[in-house]
């Protein structure tokens, strides 16, 4: 079934900057909308005209293929025009500030700006200075809301509930925007969240976010419904966070043996991608029956379609004009 635009109230906010500020009801609205969009992705002609005449700009200051492709596909499925604004280096190096970029984008009269940036808060600067809807596609180690939303959709599909589910997030929590957005989203939906990794990769005071902290993987994975494995981001690591990849693998890699021995039999494995095979997770687990990694990717497109659809696409709400849907 396709969402009927006359029935669905959009999000009240202009921008999607993080999961922290989303109400539980807003998360549920996005997920429900995404579920109905998944049906479109199964059709022979995978396009609907909901966003015809609208334009999205992709502003990626950091390399990304997966997220960019997913957003790009989502826009296309909704008949939304897109333009990639080249932003290969950081704005500072270019000599143009982010504020200049914002002013230029504003002059282009866009409906959406999807931004990825290495600095936490960069999308917030754009949001403040643009009338377009800004979607955060990852800002430094801060948030990556659409990733969390697609993760939640994947969990919803597999378990048909959130309340009481126990999830363990394993790896480089310190540098992970995915971990932060997931923690907020999962907590809001009533899940029990723990994190595990070497103490050097667990940020200070994270317990105050309402999560349990483990250093020992074997203890940590016991009785969990979901193990969410993070990529060990080599590019972000400063020296001295752990002695070697070899030792990291020994202590924290998710392997068949560890799962057999310590995890529930029905545990599922998730990962935001791209996977470092043989490092944070072994290939047989990543590709195995417990893995939800590929459904995550499919859900990414649906969730991003829902976000485009539900956000106003500019300060003036033109939803009424879109009644033809």
């Amino acid at each position: 079934m396709c969402p009927d635009s006359s029935e669905i109230e959009g999000l009240k906010r202009k921008d999607l900057l993080g999961v922290l500020e989303l109400e539980k009801e807003e998360i549920e609205l996005i997920l429900n909308t995404a579920v109905s969009f998944k049906e479109i992705l199964e059709r022979p002609i995978k396009v609907v005209p909901y966003l015809r005449g609208k334009t999205v700009a992709f502003l990626f200051f950091e390399p990304s293929t997966r997220t960019l492709n997913s957003f790009s596909l989502a826009a296309r499925r909704l008949s939304c025009d897109s333009v990639s604004v080249s932003a290969s280096s950081s704005s500072v190096l270019k000599g143009e500030t982010l504020l200049d970029t914002a002013k230029n984008l504003e002059a282009m009269k866009l409906n959406f700006v999807v931004v990825r940036h290495s600095s936490p808060g960069a999308p917030h600067i754009l949001a403040k200075n643009l009338t377009s809807s800004v979607i955060n596609a990852g800002d430094g180690s801060h948030e990556h809301p659409t990733q969390a939303l697609l993760d939640l959709l994947t969990i919803k599909e597999h378990f048909a509930k959130f309340e009481g589910l126990k999830v363990l997030i394993v790896g480089d929590i310190e540098h992970s925007r995915v971990a932060r957005s997931d923690i907020w989203g999962m907590k809001k939906l009533g899940m029990d969240v723990s994190v595990c990794g070497p103490p050097t990769l667990i940020p200070r005071d994270i317990e105050k976010m309402g999560v349990r902290v483990y250093y020992n993987l074997k203890e940590a994975i016991e009785n969990k419904d979901i193990i969410y494995v993070l990529r060990i981001q080599k590019e972000r690591q400063k020296r001295g966070l752990f002695p070697s990849t070899r030792e990291y693998i020994n202590l924290y890699s998710i392997t068949e043996e560890v799962l057999e021995k310590y995890a529930r039999r029905d545990v599922v494995i998730m990962h935001p991608g791209p996977v470092n095979r043989g490092i944070e997770i072994v290939p047989s687990v990543a590709d195995g029956t417990r893995s939800l990694i590929l459904p995550q990717v499919t859900n990414g497109v649906a969730v991003r379609m829902a976000c485009f659809y539900l956000l106003p696409g500019g300060k003036r709400d033109k939803r009424e004009e879109r009644g033809e849907g």
Binding site: S91, V92, T97, H142, R204, D205, I206, K208, M209
Partner: protein
């Protein structure tokens, strides 16, 4: 000579230990008389311009012992003239300016440059501890002191080499000036805000409290061992207050200062990514803020200093982790003291004023006197009840963390050497 009478003022002056209603007679640059009610009736009527200060406070001009005037080098951010105008508007009569200009104050030439520049209040330069602020080789401190420097500091940069710090402390004993420590172990502080739950949630890299405390502990040990004078700039953590409190009890010759933003604001402010909260040392937690107030209360913290650090708009309008650290403070400091310390009842106005005037003068042996006959008429008239919202500044920069905040206590008028500056907005 031009005469001025300030009538019915509540004169609060830590230098003379005064808090009473007086009339102040000013002639030319100096105070000609300070008279109570009874004396006035007996004395003859003075002619001249009159300011009725009923309901207002008259206080000695404040002294800021931590100002960045940016000239020479970054005149687009502040000049000695604009910086001293900003100071004057904040009720100051003197600022002690830091050495990290471009080029830095590590030779007599730059000291002279600062002394000869156009200005509207007193400026006391601080010399660099090390040549080029590089932390490796002592500057010619004797020369600098001789030219008029009141202390030495590499402020902005810590002296990471403990051996150099030891030698600096020892060497300065002959001049009886303090070495000012910008306490920050750079190996521990690669971040952009306080390390804690807020930095964790925002994904911003943290500056741990121990980065400051480790160096304060080191400097206290060095000052104790060498029996020299140490002044610690802008302390921001509970642990720092505790270290200094203990050192003072043990008789170590250490003084310290805290900034208005560290007793007024916390790291929670960073949540909106506003770069006017990007400061070094960073805004800390509520626990630290309370400890700073405690430290001011029990005189562990001797002085309130602004760390006035002007930055150009185009620099502050960057991403939070790309923007430079620092905020301006001269025009809001005293109001912060009233708003965040006096109004909630933590300190009384006399104690607050000591931190703004008498103690700073003592630490740097400045030739500043209070409001008394024969002295320069350097004073401020304050409306303690006036509520205002900082918007516009005389500083060339406007990177204030207090823009849009409700403050109490407004400097209405500043007198420097008898000259009256009235502040309209």
């Amino acid at each position: 000579m031009a005469k001025l009478i300030i009538k019915n003022a509540r004169v609060i002056d830590p230098f003379t230990d005064t808090d009473d209603t007086f009339d102040i007679l000013i002639e030319g640059e100096r105070v000609k008389g300070v008279r109570g009610k009874r004396e006035e009736r007996r004395g003859k009527r003075e002619k001249g311009k009159m300011i009725n200060a009923k309901g207002l406070w008259v206080i000695p001009g404040l002294i800021d012992i931590h100002t960045h005037l940016r000239e020479p080098g970054r005149e687009d951010e502040e000049t000695i003239l604009s910086g001293t105008m900003s100071a004057l508007k904040g009720g100051y009569q003197a600022v002690v300016c830091m050495a990290n200009t471009e080029p830095p104050v590590d030779n007599i030439g730059i000291v002279r440059y600062i002394q000869e520049a156009e200005k509207v209040c007193d400026v006391y330069p601080v010399g660099a501890v090390t040549k080029g602020l590089k932390g490796t080789e002592l500057s010619e401190i004797g020369d600098l002191v001789d030219a008029g420097c009141v202390a030495v500091s590499d402020d902005g940069m810590p002296i990471m080499d403990s051996f150099i710090m030891r030698r600096a402390l020892e060497y300065c004993k002959q001049f009886d000036i303090p070495v000012i420590s910008h306490a920050e172990d750079l190996n521990l502080s690669p971040g952009v805000m306080n390390e804690g739950i807020v930095s964790t949630e925002l994904g911003l890299s943290g500056i741990p409290s121990c980065a400051e405390e480790a160096m304060i502990a080191r400097d206290i040990l060095l000052a104790k061992f060498t029996k020299s004078r140490l002044h610690i700039a802008h302390i921001s953590t509970k642990g720092s207050v505790e270290l200094i409190r203990r050192a003072k009890k043990e008789g170590v010759n250490v003084t310290c200062e805290a900034t208005p933003h560290h007793f007024s604001l916390t790291d929670e402010c960073v949540r909106g990514f506003d770069t006017n909260y990007r400061i070094n040392p960073p805004l800390r937690t509520e626990v630290d803020r309370k400890a700073i107030i405690e430290g001011l209360l029990d005189d562990t913290i001797d002085a309130i200093a602004t760390d006035h650090a002007p930055h150009a708009d185009f620099e502050k309008e960057l991403e939070f982790d790309q923007a430079p650290s620092g905020v301006i403070g001269l025009e809001t400091a005293f109001a912060c003291g009233i708003t965040y310390l006096v109004k909630p009842g933590f300190v009384d106005i006399k104690q607050l004023l000591r931190k703004f005037t008498l103690n700073p003068a003592k630490i740097f042996s400045l030739p500043v006197k209070g409001i008394s006959t024969g002295e320069y008429a350097n004073l401020a008239i304050v409306d303690p009840a006036r509520e205002w919202i900082p918007q516009r500044f005389l500083s060339k920069s406007k990177n204030s963390p207090f823009i849009g905040k409700n403050l109490y206590g407004k400097v209405l008028c500043t007198l420097y050497r008898g000259r009256v500056y009235e502040w309209k907005d």
